[in-house]
Subunit: 225 residues, 2 copies
């Protein structure tokens, strides 16, 4: 089956307090985004990459592709006003049947074998969404009260959220709703079940400045292992 | 009102993969636990500290108190088989009316002003439990299905879980149940409401090796601020 990864890098860096959006920050001498793309190419040499970038960063994205991925199967799509619209723009470049990964560009430590496992499971079941257990107590607020949630039932969702094209493409024909906070919610709203698969603690999202340091540490540990 | 902090350090270090439990690991030259205790003393000079330690680490705890807190109002209690039993042992050393903080020893970066705010709010409402919003999508599993949870309603719970003594002490007279995963669940099960207060992103729990590095980074940033 064809493989397509829609890598979403819509951010503009406001939470990091840096001028450079986090997907372009250098991690041990290489932009975050380059790690992400390299890992998908390592997982599947025949994969097609669709990089979704905010309009202001398309030029920078082209430079990066030229420098690191010249001649590779990689295309750029422009981001929209929401995650949903950004992914929708990316999906417009998918041709024919495929297993489609939708991945946060800033999850640059995603392990190859997680990508490969998501592929196998999505191919079989229609979807595979990596998730990890909660490390802390969790409560749910209702008005000014709150109640405990059984932590054993809680899963923290990661990416790549992975789907067969016959599952995800029709779902992204739906009109936008505010409840579409990730691809799983879009697919679920189209009436399809979401299947979770075991994620990875180290598949972190680079959001806050300290995350860059954690990422460096994880890279160092993997090299030593 | 009297102030008592029950600082729970029951761990034996298995998740860190180190021989030394994480509360005794050195962070920039000082054990994690020392930061925690110092911060409570800085928040309230008249506070009493009850340190709950696994029986095998009581001697090490005594040495640490002698070295860093000689002459301070600090007592040791022995940990039990569960978080509930450990806290219960600590609470037995509370005399008279008080506002009682129950805090994870490994949350060594707890800000002073969070402790002070928890005090004020618990004094007034009976409880104050710090909580932060979720950064990722959250789902709840039911059998082999899962459904999305509105992330806006989810709160990740931190410590110090803070209570007036008339709220927490009767709650810890209840027979143990497996659902007692933190102090809030114990108090809630006794029929009292739990009030949340805004936690702090940097009030992290040192659980995994990379957390030590994050903690160092946060300390360095605070010193520069």
């Amino acid at each position: 089956m064809n493989k397509v990864a829609v890598i979403v890098a819509g951010g503009s860096g406001s939470r990091m307090g840096t001028a450079v959006p986090k997907q372009f920050l250098e991690l041990k001498g290489k932009p975050v985004l380059v790690y992400t793309v390299e890992t998908f190419f390592r997982a599947f040499a025949d994969i097609k990459i669709i990089l979704v970038l905010a309009p202001d960063f398309v030029l920078q994205g082209r430079d990066l592709i030229k420098r690191y991925f010249e001649g590779s199967n990689i295309q750029i799509a422009e981001g929209g006003n929401s995650r949903y619209h950004s992914v929708q723009n990316g999906l417009k470049l998918v041709k024919g049947e495929a297993v489609i990964f939708v991945h946060d560009a800033v999850r640059c430590l995603v392990p190859e074998n997680l990508i490969q496992r998501c592929y196998q499971e999505a191919l079989q079941k229609g979807s595979a969404v990596p998730a990890i257990p909660a490390r802390d107590s969790i409560r749910m607020v209702e008005g000014n009260k709150s109640k405990v949630v059984n932590r054993d039932n809680i899963r923290i969702i990661q990416t790549p959220q992975t789907f067969r094209s016959d599952v995800i493409l029709p779902a992204f024909q739906q009109p936008y709703r505010d409840s579409f906070t990730d691809e799983a919610t879009v697919v679920e709203s189209s009436g399809k079940d979401i299947f979770l698969t075991e994620g990875e603690e180290t598949n972190i999202k680079i959001t806050l400045p300290a995350d860059m340091l954690i990422a460096e540490k994880i890279l160092e540990e993997r090299r030593m292992a």
